[in-house]
């Protein structure tokens, strides 16, 4: 009977309906190819099982149901064989049909069928629940983790790798849990059970049909080995082509105005030709392993038909037994193909799980204090006392001292890498200092919970990040929102006011959808200067006693910049301010300018004082370089 074969084939090739797996069968073969490397398979497995703990009864029931379903499945051909035997006797010995016996077997079969149906269905549903729960919980754990990681982790890791953990590795674990695990399990049980049944029916025939297994196994293995370079080449060409297309699209200005469209098209065409060539070859190869395995199994089937037929004629085997045997041979094929891939599937899922766990084990921020802050009563006095800090082993800050009085506007200047951003990073406690103390209003900042401390600051970062969402929500993001509220809780008037103070209102109102304009990911639909205006508005809506502007207006013209500074004064005339700027013109009116070089404060004073001093600042200023 072909149904088992086809069922399994379907599952393997096309995955769960709705889950794309590349070109048809290619998914299966490349699945076999991507064997993962695990450092500690046992530990990872154990930990994965621990994640299952809260659903252990669901999980165990699913496993038991799968096992019984497989056992029932093994019994069915045997029972049908019995019916065939009744008919054989009826035809050869011309006896009357024993309807009672037939009815009895039929009833047993019906019960088995219904049992099989329910146990299959229920175990499937249970497994879906288990795996979806585990995956949801792992996803949430990852997001929580992300928000608890130290920033050093982000400095070291690529965003792409982290996203890939979530989108590829977790998916791999989920798929294996949901379908891989139970179907592998049932494949093994079927395999063992079927072999046992075949031996019971006829050991010689059983041995014959087993003989083909190693042959088939090595053949598939051999083909996969041969196929590997073809797949790799295809993957590389796909990457090359995609990269080039991306560049051709993103570089549209140059492509069009320098008339290189023609050359580029020619280049893409030849890449496209190559890709075509490798694409059809690699998908052909991915299909070939299946027919090759089938050829062996099918010839085996034919051989058994002849040999078995001989046994029946000789009277060694009943016709029912013969028919059951052939059914078992067919049943073997699906699980057999699956068992071939089980090891790789499980190992690759474990490797994925291991990577996810590694992420979940990364260093977290350590909370040192637990005091709360009343942001409104903070005067804004800041003091650094012998602060040591380094991103690596080497200290960048070695005993930095600094005192800022409430309401003072402090500018920080210096060359790239001088430690300007580091200074504000430490104020915001993005990183922990390794020595010395930072005081806020005379109190050691470490005594506060990190979140509380940050309530005292309103910051515009150098990194102009906006999320994909409406302009309105992006500005509202700066405001405090209740614990279970969302951005729509923020008053629209205060959003508009912040936009006005940041001089963002005029461009926003010019947009066809105004404040409801949806920013795409990376805010590519507005200009860089406009992005900066929005990040300033976002900071302005948060009314904090200390304001930090880190290269906040680098893409904004100087006149608008001046207007924004007026806006800031209007908003919070008595706030303490830290301003880092690329253009020296931006900071000339600051109360004090702090000049930094390789982590040390080299000069302090007003613009005029520093110019008269004719030191580092004056030199930098005259070179027009900051």
């Amino acid at each position: 009977m072909n149904k088992e074969v086809l069922n399994n084939e379907d599952k393997q090739q096309d995955g769960l309906p709705g889950v794309s797996r590349g070109v048809g069968g290619a998914g299966r073969v490349s699945g076999l190819l991507t064997s993962g490397k695990t450092k500690n398979a046992k530990g990872t497995m154990f930990r994965l099982l621990k994640n299952l703990a809260s659903f252990k009864w669901l999980f165990i029931s699913a496993i038991i149901l799968t096992l019984t379903a497989s056992l029932v499945q093994i019994l069915i051909p045997r029972k049908i064989g019995e019916i065939i035997n009744i008919f054989t006797e009826l035809l050869t010995k011309k006896t009357a049909l024993d309807w009672m016996l037939l009815g009895k077997i039929g009833l047993i079969l019906l019960v088995l069928y219904i049992f099989n149906f329910f146990s299959n269905y229920i175990s499937n549903i249970l497994m879906v629940r288990v795996s979806q729960n585990v995956i949801r919980s792992l996803r949430n754990q990852m997001q929580v983790k992300l928000n608890n990681l130290t920033l050093n982790y982000f400095d070291r890791s690529s965003a792409g790798d982290m996203v890939s953990l979530l989108s590829n590795d977790l998916d791999n674990v989920a798929n294996t849990l949901q379908s891989g695990l139970t179907s592998s399990l049932s494949a093994i049980v079927l395999l063992i059970g079927v072999v046992a049944m075949m031996i019971i029916i006829n050991p010689v025939l059983a041995f014959l049909s087993m003989a083909v297994i190693p042959v088939s196994y090595f053949m598939v293995k051999f083909l996969i080995k041969k196929a590997k370079p073809i797949f790799q080449k295809n993957a590389k060409l796909t990457g090359d082509f995609n990269g080039r297309v991306e560049e051709a699209y993103r570089g549209e200005d140059i492509v069009k105005h320098y008339n290189i469209g023609g050359d580029l098209k020619a280049e893409l065409s030849s890449l496209n030709e190559e890709l075509y060539d490798s694409e059809w070859k690699s998908s052909l190869v991915s299909f070939v392993t299946r027919p090759a395995g089938d050829l062996i199994l099918n010839s085996n089937y034919v051989l058994l038909a002849i040999w078995g037929g001989r046994y029946v004629i000789k009277g060694i085997l009943s016709l029912g037994g013969f028919q059951a045997f052939l059914q078992y041979t067919q049943m073997l094929r699906g699980p057999f193909n699956q068992v071939l891939g089980i090891f790789n599937t499980i190992m690759s899922a474990l490797a994925s799980a291991e990577r996810v766990f590694e992420f979940l084990d990364a260093d977290e921020i350590v909370e040192l204090g637990d005091e709360v802050i009343d942001a409104e009563s903070v005067a804004g006095e800041i003091r650094f006392e012998g602060v040591d800090f380094g991103y690596t082993e080497n200290l960048l800050f070695d005993g930095v001292d600094l005192k800022v009085t409430p309401g003072e506007q402090v500018a920080i200047v210096g060359r790239t890498g001088a430690g300007k951003t580091t200074l504000v990073n430490l104020l915001m406690r993005f990183y922990e200092i390794s020595g010395g103390k930072i005081y806020i209003d005379g109190k050691d900042a470490k005594n506060y919970r990190t979140e509380e401390l940050r309530k005292a600051y309103s910051m515009v970062l150098q990194d102009t990040w906006l999320f994909s969402g409406s302009i309105r929500d992006n500005i509202a993001y700066g405001a405090d929102i209740p614990d279970d509220g969302d951005l729509s809780n923020v008053d629209f008037e205060s959003i508009k006011e912040a936009a006005r103070l940041a001089r963002a209102d005029s461009f926003i109102e010019c947009l066809p959808q105004g404040y409801d304009t949806v920013l795409t990911e990376g805010a590519s639909n507005i200009s860089q200067g406009e992005v900066q205006l929005l990040t300033i508005a976002r900071a302005m809506i948060k009314k904090a006693p200390i304001i930090i502007l880190d290269e906040a207006t680098s893409s904004v013209d100087t006149r608008t910049e001046l207007l924004i500074q007026h806006g800031l004064k209007e908003l919070a005339s008595n706030s303490t301010g830290f301003i880092i700027a690329h253009r020296l013109s931006t900071i000339q009116d600051a109360d004090r300018i702090i000049v930094m070089d390789s982590g040390t404060i080299v000069e302090v004073g007003t613009h005029d004082e520093l110019l008269n001093k004719n030191g580092y600042y004056a030199e930098m200023y005259l070179a027009g370089q900051a």
Binding site: S20, F117, Q132, L151, N272, G309
Partner: protein, 573 residues
């Protein structure tokens, strides 16, 4: 739309379908031979009949495999061919589009359409040719053979097939809306996670970690619900069809039993019918689950057609007026961005002649870049006329415009490849001497002379191995090497320090003394030496004149100057 593309490969497709039919035929022949082995061999105790049929079966097996391989060969050729043609048509079209035409598509969606959607369509073609076709003829074939074996029992199979098919269709269509829900929620999950990584500092600065976790949990819950809902339905399909198949077999056996008693059916036929019944039903099941891919493919097909059916909006008009004038002129230009209510440019008039340097200064969003977009015909003006060298810009081809004007953009996009290749995008046959010359002009010559790889230095994708200022200078060099009458600098000195900028500007001034230069900038230092400076504010030229004149008379210019004056002093010394 797909049919048009498939046409080119009709030979491959016909061959594929032919061999797939042979494959199905051989596949169905095997159980039929088994029927004969049982009836004429085993029951008749005739060993030679068994062996003869067995050999035929072996032949059928080989034929089966060979036909499958050949059909797969044609299939992969056709599928890969259609994706190649789709990709080619897409990029050929997109590369030629003007900005105005392209306005509705972001770069990322265009890339997705050229790469992922084509892949999806190719999956669809693969499945329809490989699966849907063979599944259908297998079912039909199995039915035909069944009827030839025993019409009465076969009709039971015929009755149950539509039932199963409808059942499968019902379950699948019920699960379908959940699939798009799953996809959307997974996209959302990935997007939130990606954004959270990118914005981690901002999120922490504003204490929004809890909010981000809450938003994320909403998305994972959505994915969970959709998955449970769809899978609870879809997981029913396979066991249910198995149940139907088994019951059908039981029915056939019982009816067969009755017939065997009165001797009107042979055992082999009975076994054969059971086999064909299960073949038909399992094929129907696969059919039902494959249908799920169709709506998804349709989305992709629609997205591709949308690109392919978008025609260039800016057509090249017939040449009507021509004069010998060499220069650029804007006359009474009004411009609105598509969908915008406010004029981006209003009543704009200016000319630029060879040997002149003019500059446009203004705030962020004043319309400076828009002027250049019209000058390059990224967009067409709403009203008024733009002439390049005496010819209406609307009558010029893209190549002609590029020959007259060299544009150096604000964003310094570089291609991956060597420095030489990048500079040569400006001038295809530029020799190393010329390349060194322009690199020296942008003060990058020594930098590369000192590097071991010189002009072969590799630029990575997105030029991540160069700083903002270096990228900008390379982008300028690439423009300087071009030969044209006019050069346009779109705020492209912004990442340079004053000293370097000054040197670069001096080098440009020297080389292009007899060319027309248009500079767009925010810095006064960049524009002060221009013959005429246009002060742009909210799309209108408010004031125009020399630096000295504007410094006396223009309010806005004075404000700009005031915001920069001290650094000016610093620069002038």
């Amino acid at each position: 739309m797909l049919l048009r593309y498939a046409k080119k490969y009709s030979k491959f497709i016909v061959a594929q379908l032919f061999f797939a039919t042979v494959w199905v035929f051989a596949q169905l022949l095997i159980p039929r031979l088994m029927v004969d082995i049982v009836d004429f061999g085993i029951m008749a105790k005739d060993m030679t009949a068994i062996i003869n049929r067995g050999l035929l079966m072996l032949a059928a097996t080989v034929l089966n495999i060979v036909a499958l391989m050949i059909s797969l060969y044609f299939l992969t050729r056709a599928t890969a061919g259609i994706s190649r043609d789709l990709r080619a048509d897409l990029f050929e079209k997109v590369i030629d589009w003007s900005k105005e035409t392209r306005a509705d598509f972001s770069n990322s969606t265009l890339i997705t359409r050229t790469v992922n959607d084509v892949k999806q369509v190719s999956n669809f073609i693969d499945l329809s040719l490989r699966k849907i076709f063979t599944l259908s003829i297998t079912v039909i074939g199995a039915l035909v053979v069944s009827f030839s074996l025993d019409a009465k029992l076969a009709s039971i199979i015929l009755i149950i097939i539509p039932v199963i098919f409808l059942l499968g269709l019902f379950l699948t269509t019920r699960a379908l809306p959940q699939y798009s829900r799953i996809r959307l929620s997974i996209d959302r999950i990935n997007q939130l996670f990606r954004e959270n990584i990118r914005g981690i500092r901002v999120i922490r600065a504003f204490n929004k970690s809890d909010y981000e976790v809450r938003e994320f949990e909403k998305a994972t819950k959505e994915a969970y619900d959709a998955n449970i809902k769809s899978e609870s339905t879809m997981m029913l399909l396979s066991p249910l069809i198995l149940l139907f198949t088994n019951i059908l077999i039981l029915v056939i056996l019982f009816m067969g039993g009755g017939r065997a008693e009165i001797g009107t059916i042979k055992l082999g036929v009975l076994i054969g019918l059971i086999e064909y019944a299960s073949i038909s039903l399992s094929n129907i099941q696969q059919f039902a689950s494959i249908i799920t891919i169709i709506p998804r493919s349709k989305v992709s097909i629609d997205r591709i057609s949308e690109v392919l059916s978008t025609e260039e909006l800016l057509e090249i008009k017939e040449d009507t007026l021509q004069s010998e004038l060499i220069g650029i002129s804007f006359k009474d230009i009004d411009f609105y961005y598509p969908g915008s209510r406010r004029a981006a440019l209003r009543n704009l008039n200016f000319t630029l002649n060879k040997g002149e340097t003019k500059a446009i200064i203004g705030s962020t969003g004043s319309g400076k870049s828009t002027v250049l977009k019209l000058l390059l015909r990224d967009y067409d003006a709403f009203h008024g006329r733009i002439c390049l060298n005496g010819r209406n810009i609307q009558t010029l081809t893209r190549e002609e415009i590029g020959g007259i004007v060299t544009y150096i953009p604000q964003s310094s996009f570089l291609f991956s490849g060597s420095i030489r290749e990048n500079i040569q995008t400006g001038k295809k046959d530029a020799g190393d001497d010329e390349i060194w010359e322009v690199l020296d002009m942008v003060q990058m010559g020594d930098f590369f002379r000192e590097s071991s790889e010189g002009l072969d230095t590799h630029i990575a994708q997105n030029a991540v191995n160069f700083s903002g200022g270096q990228k900008q200078r390379l982008s300028i060099a690439r423009g300087l090497i071009r030969e044209s009458d006019f050069y346009i600098f779109d705020d492209c000195f912004s990442a340079l320090d004053y000293a370097t900028e000054k040197k670069v500007r001096e080098a440009i001034k020297e080389k292009f003394a007899d060319k027309g230069v248009l500079v767009v900038a925010q810095r006064v230092a960049t524009v002060r030496e221009a013959d005429e400076i246009l002060v742009l504010e909210r799309g209108e030229i408010l004031d125009r004149g020399s630096h000295e004149y504007l410094a006396e008379t223009s309010e806005i210019y004075k404000e700009i100057l005031a915001s920069q004056i001290k650094s000016q002093e610093g620069e002038i010394r």
